[in-house]
Structure formats: structure tokens, C-alpha cells
């Protein structure tokens, strides 16, 4: 048994193709990105080596840290929202009537491209004609918010579509994981007199804890490098109120011709992601990874 499963040739055969791909197409760019970070380069003319200057600027750059904070906030909100998605999935997977149809409906928004989602939510947030304010007016509110135009709430307003956008993604994963729990285990619990809630909490949740940990990781990293809707809907504004790390990097590198500095931001983002992942895995670590 051990011998078969330790066959070096097979291990190499199975891992090397994928490994080579990421080494060439992801790690070389990462390295180059770190290298461009050492350059004074506008992305057009000659590069000039300036050592760690960009990185020193980065550490002292208030805008960068504000964007980092915004990214952190998104990571926290995304992670918390996982609980909601988990609850929804538990209901869907519990074989209640119509769960099959509901599941399909719930996952539909994840099929939409960011272009469509951005358009939809910009319409919802429109201060005069938008759905959000129409609804608030209907409830009798007079000074309705201006949503994306208000620096105090723009960031939180934009979190809503960002987090909502991923609802389908996580529900899909949780659903698959829950469906993966063998029926026998649940039947056995039922015979012991457990009610559906008890089954969910005591039996199902522990069994999918591995998947749940992975999704926390995905939510944290995905949030820290999030870009799409923020770029389209607010462009990081007004006045940087909704700037996140990735949008700041894009702006510096592609809009302001600070390609060297933009690369340094990208590298910084990576380092922060790694630190956060380490932290998350420490926090979620437990010795009893369940198996069945």
C-alpha cells in the first residue's frame, strides 16, 4: 500500500504539469512584479533602478493603508456573510419541498458577468430614479442617501453588490459539501431522535468543516485582491472613499503611469494576502479535522 502510494514517478507525473504551469505563468510574473517594484518606470520608456524607494514610499503611503483597511473590511464582511450562505445551504440541502428549484434560482446571479451586475446596482443606487431610494421614499424617508456619491457610505454601499455577487458561489460549494454527507450518518442520527436543527449543527456542520475552512480562505484572499465592481461602479471614489488595494494598484500602474510603483503595490498586496492567510489558518486550525 505505502509503496504504491509513494511512487515518486507517479507523484511527479500528477503534480508537475500543474506545477510547471503556475511556476511559469504565475510565479515568474510575481517575481517580475517585485522586480519592477525596484524600478522607476512609467511603463513606456526606459526603466531606472531605484532600489527600495518604491517600497519605502509604499510603507509610508497613507492612501495605500486606507485602501488596505478598506480591503480588510471587505474581507471581514465577506467572511461573516459566509454564515448566511451556510444557513441557506443547510436549508436547501435538507430536502424540503422545492429545494431543487430554489437552489437553481439562488445560483442564477453568479452567472452574470460583472458588467451586468455593475449596471444593475448602479441603477439601484441612482439617487433620484434608483430602486433603493424609491423604496426609502415609499417608507416615508425624505433625505434619501446619495449612496455612491457620499464618501461616508460609498464603501459600504458597494460592499453590498460585491458580497451578494458571491452568494451563488458559496451556496454552490456548501450545497455540494452537504450533499456529500452520507445519508447513513443522518439516518442513524434520526433514529437516535435528533431533530433537523440538531442534525444540522451536530452532524452536518462538523462534517463539512474542512470545506468551510477553505471557503474562509477563499473569501479572505478573494476580498483582499477584489477589483471588478469597485473599479466599474465608483472607480475607488469619491476621493478615494472606496479605494481598495487592487483598484489603487491599477490606478497607479495603468492610469497614472507609475508602473514601478503600481508593481510595488501589487507585491505589497501579495505579502498582505500571505500574512492574512497565515493568520486565518492559525485562527481556524483545529486538530480534529473530521473524516468519514
Amino acid at each position: 500500500m505505502n509503496k504504491v502510494m509513494s511512487n515518486k514517478f507517479v507523484i511527479a507525473l500528477y503534480t508537475l504539469p500543474a506545477l510547471l504551469l503556475i511556476l511559469v505563468l504565475i510565479y515568474i510574473p510575481i517575481a517580475l512584479s517585485g522586480y519592477y517594484g525596484l524600478m522607476d518606470w512609467n511603463g513606456i520608456g526606459e526603466m531606472k533602478f531605484i532600489g527600495l524607494e518604491n517600497y519605502i514610499t509604499l510603507v509610508q503611503d497613507k492612501v495605500f493603508w486606507t485602501s488596505t483597511w478598506h480591503s480588510f473590511l471587505l474581507a471581514i464582511f465577506s467572511t461573516v456573510s459566509l454564515l448566511l450562505y451556510l444557513a441557506v445551504s443547510l436549508v436547501l440541502a435538507s430536502k424540503i419541498k422545492g429545494s431543487d428549484l430554489l437552489r437553481k434560482i439562488y445560483l442564477i446571479p453568479m452567472l452574470l458577468s460583472s458588467v451586468a451586475i455593475a449596471q444593475l446596482w448602479m441603477k439601484i443606487f441612482d439617487p433620484t430614479n434608483g430602486m433603493a431610494n424609491k423604496l426609502l421614499e415609499w417608507f416615508g424617508m425624505e433625505n434619501t442617501p446619495i449612496w455612491l456619491a457620499d464618501p461616508a457610505i460609498a464603501l459600504y454601499a458597494i460592499f453590498i453588490p460585491v458580497i451578494w455577487q458571491y452568494a451563488g458561489f458559496y451556496i454552490l460549494i456548501y450545497y455540494a459539501a452537504l450533499k456529500n454527507v452520507p445519508d447513513e450518518v443522518i439516518e442513524a442520527a434520526k433514529i437516535d431522535g435528533a431533530n433537523p436543527l440538531q442534525i444540522a449543527i451536530k452532524i452536518k456542520l462538523p462534517l463539512i468543516s474542512g470545506v468551510f475552512k477553505v471557503t474562509i480562505m477563499l473569501a479572505v484572499v478573494g476580498s483582499l485582491k477584489y477589483f471588478d465592481l469597485i473599479y466599474v461602479m465608483t472607480g475607488g471614489g469619491p476621493n478615494g472613499a472606496s479605494e481598495v488595494m487592487a483598484s489603487y494598484m491599477y490606478k497607479e500602474a495603468f492610469k497614472l503611469n507609475h508602473f514601478g510603483y503600481g508593481s510595488a503595490i501589487g507585491f505589497g498586496l501579495l505579502v498582505i494576502c500571505m500574512l492574512m492567510t497565515l493568520l486565518t489558518s492559525k485562527l481556524t486550525k483545529s486538530n480534529d479535522d473530521v473524516q468519514y
Partner: protein, 435 residues
């Protein structure tokens, strides 16, 4: 066992692909541009007029290319067409990799500068006929007196207004800023949005500031601040910023303007939810020729020149505007001479057709007598002929990073997150830092 063979093959193929890829380096990539099959000279061109959104421009360029290829059977012009944002992003990647197309589209002044300094664009002084262009347009595409791109468009920015809304509240077209303020006040008091503004895009608000700066301090005030013979803390510029704050406080602009894109803000004007809209003449087709807009709406729309400011130095025939895009030839191009010839031809033909066919005012001198033009075009072209000054959009004049400071400050000023004094000071510092 078949499966085993398959998996091994697959892995090998992928690895092989990568290894091959990694090793063959630059041996073969150098000679692909230049000649195609049949010995034709290939000129690669990138532009931003997709057939779907800009059919008229697309067709003009397409026709010009066909004509050119007919006249020069040994030349093959290959086009790549992208949307506006994608175009800008791709140009960045291509220039960083030194792979610009032979011919492409560029924006003026501040945008173009780094490309010229980086030796990416070829000087076009040898193909330029200066008198072919409206005075000043070529300058926006020149560095140290040499043109590096040929302008295609020219825009000025009038204030469009809804005649029906004006009539309803007995309003006259304002000639002076005081009259303008009265118009704004009347509309606001009656619960009508006076002005729509998509200030998420920021350059939209910048045009309001620029006009006020021009009317108060004359064109020199802003120009000198940017070209560093003056200061951004010039009293006229601070005063202009104060006027902006006043307008905002009066409720002159649409609700939530700082979160609206220009496209969204335009919607308010097109749906008659706002009375005025300050925008460049590229909007003219919407009020004249566009088949997608009802004639009923078009008839309601007129325009006026930005009013004069009492005691100010600027006059009513001075405009904010400038050439939009121009054509460059890549310095690295292997077919530079052919590309230049083509660019010269394109600019000339474009000038003949763009107003009539696409509603685009070219940077080349237009003969208004030919073709049947909509009255609004004729008026605008006449205004253009009588213009005393054309101030290039501030964010185009500035380098990318100073422009970003300017635009952020504009958004902050409109949003009430900065004072006129601070507004001026921050920009003065940014400009000074780059001297």
C-alpha cells in the same frame, strides 16, 4: 492502461509546450510584422470605433482603408478595434512591451507626452501641412514644436438646455453669470434639477471650473497656473472655486452627482429630468442626427455659450474644448514610411467626411458649404470660426499624476470636502512638485 497512456501524453504535451515556449525565446517573433503572404506591406492599425457603437466612424475608417488599399495594391492595412477603456489598457501593455501598432489613436498633450519622451511615437513634421488644421489643434499634439500625432477631432463645450423647461418657467437664455444664477435659482425653487452632472468621471466637473476660471480671470489664469508662469492660487482661480461651491449650495446640480457617471447623468437630460447639461460637441448627434433619439426631444434642445462674468476678464467667445484624439505612427514601426503616408491620407479624407457622415467635427478646416448639415452644426461651426480662444481641457494639459490631483480636488470641491483655498493650494503644490 489506455488511460495511463493518455494521462502521460497529456502531461507531456503540456510540459513540452511550456519548455518549448520557454526556450525558443525571441528567435522568431521579430519578423512577423512588415510582410505578409504575397509580399504585401502590412500596416497594423488600432482604433476605438467599434462597429456596434460608432458605426459612422467605423464605416468612414473602413472606406478610407479600402480606398487606400485600392490605390496602393501592395499595402495591406490590418485593423484591431477596441472599446475606449480596453483600448487605453491595451496600449499600456503594448507600449510596456515595445509592441505598439504601426498606427494608432492617442490623446493630446499630457497623455501623449510620456510616449514622446519614451521615443515611442515618430515625429510627423515631414507629412504635416499646417494650414490643413484649425489653428491650435496641432499644437496640442506637438512636443517642442514637432507634431507627434495628427488631430482628428475638435470639440468645444456649449451648455445644452431644454427649451421647453425654460419656457415653462419663463426663462431666457442667460448672457451673464447673474442671469444664469437666476435661471438656476428659479429652477431649483420649482423643484426642477437645473443642471445634470456626472462627476464620478471628474473631468465633467472640471469643465465647469474651467469655464468659471476663464470668465473670471481670462484664459491666462488657468493656462499660466498649469504652464507654471503663474500660480494655481491666483485669486481668479480661488474665486472660480468659490462660485462652484455657491452653485452646489444652491442645489444647481443633480442629486448625487459625485456618484454618477457622465452616461448616467446624461440620462437625466435625455429624459428631461434636468434643464441644462454642459458637455462637448461630441453630443451633437443626440440632438440632431441620431436615429435612436426622438425628433420631439431633439426639437426641444438648444445650446448657449457659457455666460460672461461681471467684471471678469474672459469673453463669451472663449471656449473650453480641444482636439479629442489624434493618429500616431509608432517610432519602432518597420513600415514607418508607409504608415505615415497612410496617416496623412486618412486625416485628409476623414476631414472631408466626418461632419456630414458621423457628426464629428474634424480638426481639419471644414467647408460648410457642401453637404446638408443640421442647423445646430452650422451654428457650432460658425461659433468655432469666431472663437477668440480655446482652452484645452485641464486634465489633458496636465501630466497624468497632476491631472489626478486636479480631478480629485474637483470632486472634493463639488462634494464639499475641501475649501476653495485648500483646493487651490493642493493643486499648486502638485504642479510645483513636478516642475
Amino acid at each position: 492502461m489506455k488511460k495511463k497512456a493518455f494521462s502521460a501524453l497529456l502531461s507531456l504535451a503540456l510540459m513540452g509546450g511550456i519548455v518549448l515556449g520557454g526556450c525558443s525565446s525571441s528567435s522568431s517573433s521579430s519578423d512577423d510584422s512588415g510582410k505578409s503572404s504575397g509580399g504585401k506591406t502590412v500596416v497594423k492599425m488600432m482604433h476605438l470605433w467599434p462597429e456596434g457603437s460608432s458605426k459612422a466612424q467605423f464605416t468612414i475608417v473602413d472606406d478610407i482603408i479600402k480606398d487606400y488599399e485600392k490605390a496602393n495594391p501592395d499595402v495591406d492595412i490590418q485593423t484591431e478595434i477596441l472599446g475606449n477603456e480596453q483600448y487605453k489598457e491595451k496600449i499600456k501593455v503594448l507600449s510596456a512591451s515595445n509592441e505598439l501598432p504601426d498606427v494608432g489613436i492617442t490623446w493630446a498633450a499630457g497623455y501623449m507626452q510620456p510616449f514622446v519622451e519614451g521615443n515611442m511615437f515618430a515625429p510627423l513634421d515631414d507629412i504635416v501641412q499646417k494650414d490643413q488644421f484649425v489653428a491650435g489643434t496641432l499644437d496640442a499634439f506637438s512636443v517642442d514644436g514637432k507634431p507627434y500625432a495628427l488631430p482628428l477631432e475638435l470639440n468645444i463645450t456649449p451648455v445644452y438646455y431644454n427649451k421647453e423647461i425654460f419656457k415653462k418657467y419663463n426663462l431666457e437664455v442667460p448672457k451673464t453669470y447673474d442671469e444664469f444664477l437666476k435661471v438656476v435659482k428659479t429652477l431649483a425653487d420649482n423643484g426642477v434639477t437645473p443642471i445634470t452632472l456626472g462627476n464620478k468621471d471628474r473631468w465633467t466637473g472640471s469643465m465647469w471650473f474651467m469655464y468659471l476660471a476663464d470668465r473670471i480671470g481670462g484664459p491666462e489664469a488657468l493656462n499660466n497656473a498649469i504652464n507654471r508662469t503663474g500660480s494655481f492660487e491666483d485669486p481668479a482661480l480661488v474665486k472660480a472655486a468659490e462660485e462652484i461651491t455657491k452653485l452646489v449650495d444652491m442645489g444647481a446640480f443633480v442629486k448625487g452627482f459625485n456618484g454618477l457617471s457622465n452616461d448616467e447623468a446624461k440620462g437625466y437630460f435625455m429624459n428631461e429630468q434636468a434643464a441644462m447639461y454642459l458637455m462637448a460637441t461630441w453630443e451633437l448627434p443626440n440632438y440632431t442626427t441620431s436615429p435612436d433619439v426622438s425628433q420631439e426631444f431633439k426639437d426641444k434642445i438648444g445650446y448657449f455659450k457659457f455666460p460672461t462674468y461681471e467684471g471678469g476678464k474672459g469673453n463669451i467667445d472663449s471656449y473650453v474644448g480641444g482636439p479629442g484624439v489624434g493618429l500616431f505612427v509608432s517610432e519602432q514601426s518597420k513600415v514607418k514610411e508607409e504608415a505615415k503616408k497612410f496617416v496623412a491620407y486618412l486625416v485628409e479624407e476623414w476631414g472631408k467626411r466626418s461632419v456630414v457622415d458621423a457628426g464629428v467635427i474634424p480638426a481639419t478646416v471644414v467647408d460648410t458649404s457642401s453637404g446638408d448639415l443640421d442647423q445646430m452644426y452650422i451654428d457650432i461651426l460658425n461659433d468655432l470660426g469666431n472663437a477668440t480662444n480655446l482652452t484645452l481641457y485641464a486634465d489633458v494639459q496636465m501630466s497624468a499624476s497632476v491631472a489626478d490631483v486636479h480631478l480629485n480636488q474637483i470632486q472634493a470641491l463639488f462634494g464639499g470636502q475641501t475649501t476653495p483655498k485648500e483646493f487651490a493650494k493642493t493643486q499648486e503644490e502638485a504642479l510645483a512638485a513636478e516642475e
